[in-house]
């Protein structure tokens, strides 16, 4: 009986120490689920989900405060990916937030721009270059197409144009899709 007590105590101590060390050495920093959700969001930072950017929305999803269907730029693909990650049902996009539209790019009409810097302040990713009373321009590579710069412009000189497909960005069509169109089936 005495030996049993000693043995169990020793075992408990060893495992306790092991767990204690593990807790310190293998500690996971931050909240990985927020990171994972944030990675799946398109980072448009448009605020259509009613949060101030993609990360706050990711945090809200992680806390279970909002649904996963509030991201129009990500659209169906993002909802599906989020549903997979969080193991919940796929839902159609919430119309309240907007509709899924083709990718666009902000273009400033340089003849009409008065150099007010309002769009620069609105851009969430610093993709607009310019100074007071100087013409502004958009970095096409950095623009996420969030449309946040359109509203503040006092002379309405910013247009959202659809990004043009070129041979380098073109993708081969889905063969199964083509077969469906022609009535065939695989």
């Amino acid at each position: 009986m005495f030996t049993a007590i000693i043995a169990i105590t020793l075992l408990a101590l060893t495992f306790g120490l092991l767990l204690g060390f593990a807790a310190i050495y293998f500690k996971v920093e931050g909240d990985p689920i927020v990171e994972q959700i944030d990675k799946l969001l398109p980072q448009t930072q448009c605020g259509q989900c009613s949060f101030a950017g993609c990360r706050p929305y990711a945090e809200a999803i992680a806390n279970g405060e909002v649904d996963i269907n509030r991201c129009p730029p990500g659209g169906e693909a993002t909802i599906e990916a989020l549903a997979n990650l969080l193991e919940v049902e796929v839902k159609p996009l919430d119309d309240e937030c907007g509709v899924e539209a083709p990718k666009t790019l902000a273009v400033i009409d340089e003849d009409r721009c008065i150099g007010c810097t309002l769009c620069i302040q609105a851009c969430p990713v610093d993709a607009i270059l310019g100074a007071a009373k100087q013409m502004h321009t958009v970095f096409a590579d950095e623009c996420t197409g969030c449309e946040l710069c359109v509203e503040p412009c006092p002379v309405d000189c910013i247009d959202m144009v659809e990004t043009k497909l070129n041979p380098n960005t073109w993708r081969w069509p889905d063969p199964s899709h083509i077969d469906l169109q022609t009535g065939g089936q695989i």
């Binding site: 398109p42 980072q43 969430p124 610093d126 996420t144 041979p167 073109w170 889905d174 199964s176």
Partner: protein
């Protein structure tokens, strides 16, 4: 010295269909009235136009310059006047337009001054590469990778063997075959230049055994060359796709190029015979790459053959020159029946990578209606890269891109053997091409969203910093104000005190 040949897995024995286009010697395609030159005719960054509408250009004059490292120049194929610089349909499976330079030819074919080097032995490897780059030479086998890069092994690699690819394994195509038959000496010039640029003597010219005329012509030309005593012609068995880069290296040396690796990693550089010919012309005769030999063949072509065609020549002119049964607007194939793609439209120009124009395939196997996969496994048997096309097919179809990458989708060379043998006639290669471009697109999107995230985070950090700085300044200003106020009060108090004191004294 005879060396035992290696082999690659899978592959197919296909009917060559080559006789149709080898009955006549190489002919020159007549000069077209308008030449349209896409700025991107190679892998890498597209060239930048250096001419404007109305400029007069001479044959061989540079009209667009290389942009960045993986890029080459572009030259006017004939003399004339620039009539347009802008978007024009290009021979691409998408059917899209891209920036092009159009030239209205004047028919005089006036050459620009050429920088010839009959004896190039005093040129350094670097100078040779620069000249090859300036001449706009890219791989003429079909992929169009800038050749000067493949002639630059760098300091970390040692080149043991240069392999010249004269295999031309795909049915119907005969442009390399005819070039080797008729212009073997020109190819030898190019090999000498390439050997000097790479500092390598050991060279193998690989030719399939279904081209006896080309083999004897090349052997004859080789015998007359003092410099090329370590070069030999190696005849390999005819089997598709023996002419694909990695499969050919495996056949010749028995070595495998590692996944995502370069041929240089195993000490081998491989060039097409057509590229060698172009290199020879560029160095010895100062001629930039402005034309190539194009095979025009197929069951609907009356006068099939090989044509030396200036770049920019409209493909429909080439087709009407050969008298085809094709009606305007009907699709045709650029490349071979296995790896080529359908093109439609009549205004498409001949480009650097256009090795063959095919109108009407004899045994067209593409069925309109694919049947379900019966898991026979034939596709895996014929795959020359030992992939599992069936698994790749399932995952591509369900758009599980991660899984396709796990099954090494990017090792697929799109040779088309799997689609060819599939009893259910599933367009497997189409699925793989689809999955490949989807994966690349996804990767680009991911990079873009990562960039946006970083920029957004940086902006927030900056705004936060600015806010703190502003608050700090405000606080300091308040403190300064308070201090000065206090000092003033103190002074006033002191003044008042001293006043009252003096009053008291009075």
């Amino acid at each position: 010295m005879t060396q035992a040949l290696g082999s690659f897995p899978g592959g197919l024995k296909l009917a060559g269909q080559k006789k149709r286009s080898t009955q006549t010697p190489i002919r020159k395609m007549p000069l077209s009235k308008t030449l349209v030159l896409p700025l991107q005719q190679h892998i890498g960054e597209s060239a930048v136009a250096i001419v404007k509408v109305g400029d007069k250009v001479l044959k061989g004059q540079k009209i667009a310059t290389a942009n960045g490292h993986v890029s080459v120049c572009l030259h006017a194929p004939s003399s004339g006047i620039i009539s347009a610089v802008g978007d024009h349909p290009i021979p691409h499976p998408s059917g899209l337009s891209a920036p092009c330079i159009s030239i209205d030819t004047d028919g005089e074919d006036h050459w620009v001054e050429r920088n010839m080097a009959e004896d190039f032995s005093d040129l350094t490897a670097h100078e040779l590469r620069q000249r090859i780059r300036e001449a706009g030479i890219v791989g003429l086998g079909g992929a169009g990778f800038p050749s000067f890069i493949k002639l630059n092994p760098g300091v970390h690699h040692h080149v043991e063997t240069l392999i010249l690819n004269g295999v031309e394994c795909e049915p119907y195509i005969t442009c390399d075959d005819m070039l080797m038959r008729e212009r073997a000496q020109g190819i030898m010039d190019g090999i000498e230049v390439m050997q000097q640029a790479l500092h390598v003597n050991n060279c193998v010219i690989a030719i399939e055994d279904n081209k006896p005329e080309a083999i004897s012509s090349m052997e004859l030309a080789l015998a007359s060359r003092e410099k090329l005593k370590d070069t030999k012609v190696v005849v390999i068995p005819t089997r598709y796709p023996a002419g694909s880069e990695k499969q050919l290296i495996q056949t010749i040396t028995g070595k495998q190029v590692p996944t995502r690796g370069l041929t240089l990693d195993i000490g081998i550089v491989l060039h097409n015979v057509g590229t060698a010919y172009a290199v020879g012309r560029a160095i010895k005769h100062g001629e930039p790459l402005i034309s190539r030999i194009v095979t025009v063949t197929g069951k609907d072509v009356k006068h099939a053959g090989n044509f030396e065609t200036l770049f920019g020549t409209p493909i429909h002119e080439l087709l009407s020159f050969c008298d085809t049964k094709r009606k305007a607007g009907e699709p045709f194939i650029q490349g071979g029946p296995m790896m080529g793609y359908n093109l439609a439209g009549d205004k498409l120009p001949v480009t650097k990578t256009a090795n063959c124009i095919l109108v009407g395939v004899d045994d067209a196997t593409q069925a309109a209606k694919p049947l379900p996969c019966i898991r026979c496994g034939d596709c895996a048997t014929v795959c020359p890269v030992s992939l599992l096309p069936q698994q790749l097919y399932w995952h591509s179809r369900s758009k599980d891109l991660e899984k396709t990458s796990e099954y090494n989708l990017f090792d697929c060379i799109e040779c088309g053997c799997c689609s060819y043998v599939c009893p259910s006639q599933i367009p497997l290669v189409q699925y793989f091409r689809f999955a490949k471009t989807e994966t690349m697109n996804q990767e680009q999107e991911r990079q873009k969203s990562d960039l946006a995230r970083i920029r957004h985070d940086n902006r927030q950090e900056r705004q936060e910093r600015e806010r703190i700085e502003k608050e700090e300044k405000q606080r300091q200003r308040k403190a300064a104000l308070a201090a000065s106020k206090a000092a003033k009060e103190k002074k006033e108090a002191e003044a008042a005190e001293s006043q009252s004191e003096s009053q008291e004294k009075q």
